[in-house]
């Protein structure tokens, strides 16, 4: 198959076009830069924190943020969370360190162990609440740490590597569970209401599929090893992901269709749930001071639970 734009052999086909290596890279970069401009993801006075893990999406979003920010003289840095998942995160962090050295990017790494007292592996081992899956614990701690650390480091935007597949999955997961208010918080800029406790999250790879992201990383020569989290098979997301991929194989463009349809209803969803949410004033966690919906935030509740488990375990050994 030949590139639609030149005589070279195509390495990508999608959206009715075929691209060779160079034209694919142009297509990818233009799509991300258009997303940043279209949704106003970065402003001239921003300090951008890029949430990274060393995987294909985070290296691609870090590279594209670097490209945009250096061209527009916007300050940026990378932040990684080490959850403590042996044989998984340690490998991706090695790839990330190498990448940041190569491109001269400031990198901050913070761990669950330093900030919450234990690794995710140990937390899982202790069996924190039987009905909680490791992905739930990991998600709460990761979200909290990314926000807290980005804030501590002076960030005004938090750029994440969420891509088209992630958004299509999240939208369907929320819809299947009937959580339309959660859908209202999705979109290229997440959240409903501004609060100085939250660093706004933005998604430059919003229209980039996983396949495009991996292909970009591969063609740019980023060192990305396939490394699947050992806990992924336990998640609802994995089920939805596999179903959407099965549909995409039969109906190419389905992921784009889902996300574009979602974007059409997003303004109404935001308006509806913003109005509902604004009737309730923000509460602040009594323990850490973060904005939350109850007396203490989910991360602090988990931390307390972890301490209780620790005490029970210690007492049972004595």
């Amino acid at each position: 198959m030949q590139c639609t734009k030149c005589a070279e052999k195509a390495v990508y086909t999608g959206q009715g076009q075929n691209f060779c290596k160079n034209h694919f890279i142009n297509y990818f970069e233009n799509k991300v830069l258009r997303t940043i401009t279209r949704f106003g993801l970065f402003a001239p006075d921003d300090q951008v924190c890029v949430a990274t893990s060393g995987g294909k999406d985070s290296l691609s979003v870090l590279y594209m943020t670097m490209k945009y920010c250096r061209e527009h003289h916007i300050a940026f840095f990378a932040l990684a969370i080490d959850e403590g998942i042996a044989g998984y995160r340690d490998h991706t962090l090695d790839d990330l360190r190498l990448f940041c050295t190569q491109y001269d990017i400031k990198l901050e790494i913070v761990s669950f162990k330093d900030r919450f007292g234990d690794t995710l592996d140990n937390i899982r081992e202790k069996g924190i609440e039987k009905n909680k899956k490791p992905c739930t614990v990991c998600g709460i701690f990761r979200r909290t740490l990314l926000n807290r650390e980005a804030k501590r480091l002076g960030a005004t935007k938090l750029a994440t590597g969420h891509n088209l597949d992630d958004e299509a999955q999240s939208f369907l997961m929320n819809t299947l569970l009937g959580n339309m208010s959660h859908n209202a918080s999705l979109g290229p800029i997440t959240g409903l209401n501004q609060n100085d406790k939250f660093v706004p999250r933005v998604k430059p790879l919003y229209f980039i599929s996983e396949k495009e992201s991996r292909l970009f990383a591969l063609l740019k020569g980023f060192k990305v090893e396939f490394n699947e989290c050992p806990n992924i098979g336990l998640s609802f997301r994995a089920t939805v992901r596999d179903e959407i991929n099965a549909i995409e194989s039969k109906l190419p463009g389905a992921k784009n269709g889902i996300v574009n349809a979602f974007l059409e209803i997003l303004p109404e969803l935001k308006e509806k749930y913003r109005a509902e949410k604004s009737r309730h004033t923000f509460q602040y966690c009594k323990r850490c001071g973060d904005a939350c919906s109850g007396e203490i935030c989910n991360a602090c509740r988990l931390e307390e639970e972890l301490c209780r488990k620790e005490t029970v375990l210690r007492n049972s050994k004595e």
Partner: protein
């Protein structure tokens, strides 16, 4: 042909004279939207003909976690 399936970290030696990428993926039960196929170090598309002496990598595009 030698085939490496990244997701399963599995290597296969397949005795086929010639097969298209699309048919190989179908035979292996792999959905094309979840992989990138590399032939002798170059990314190829579903219509590419693979021959006995080719070295094939099937790379996963699915997120790690």
């Amino acid at each position: 042909m030698n085939i490496f399936i990244e997701k399963e970290n599995k290597r296969l030696a397949l005795a086929k004279h010639a097969i298209r990428v699309a048919d190989l993926l179908l035979d292996l039960g792999i959905k094309d939207s979840t992989v990138i196929v590399v032939k002798n170090g170059t990314v190829v598309l579903e219509d590419e003909l693979l021959e006995q002496e080719d070295d094939i990598q099937i790379l996963s595009v699915v997120s790690g976690g």
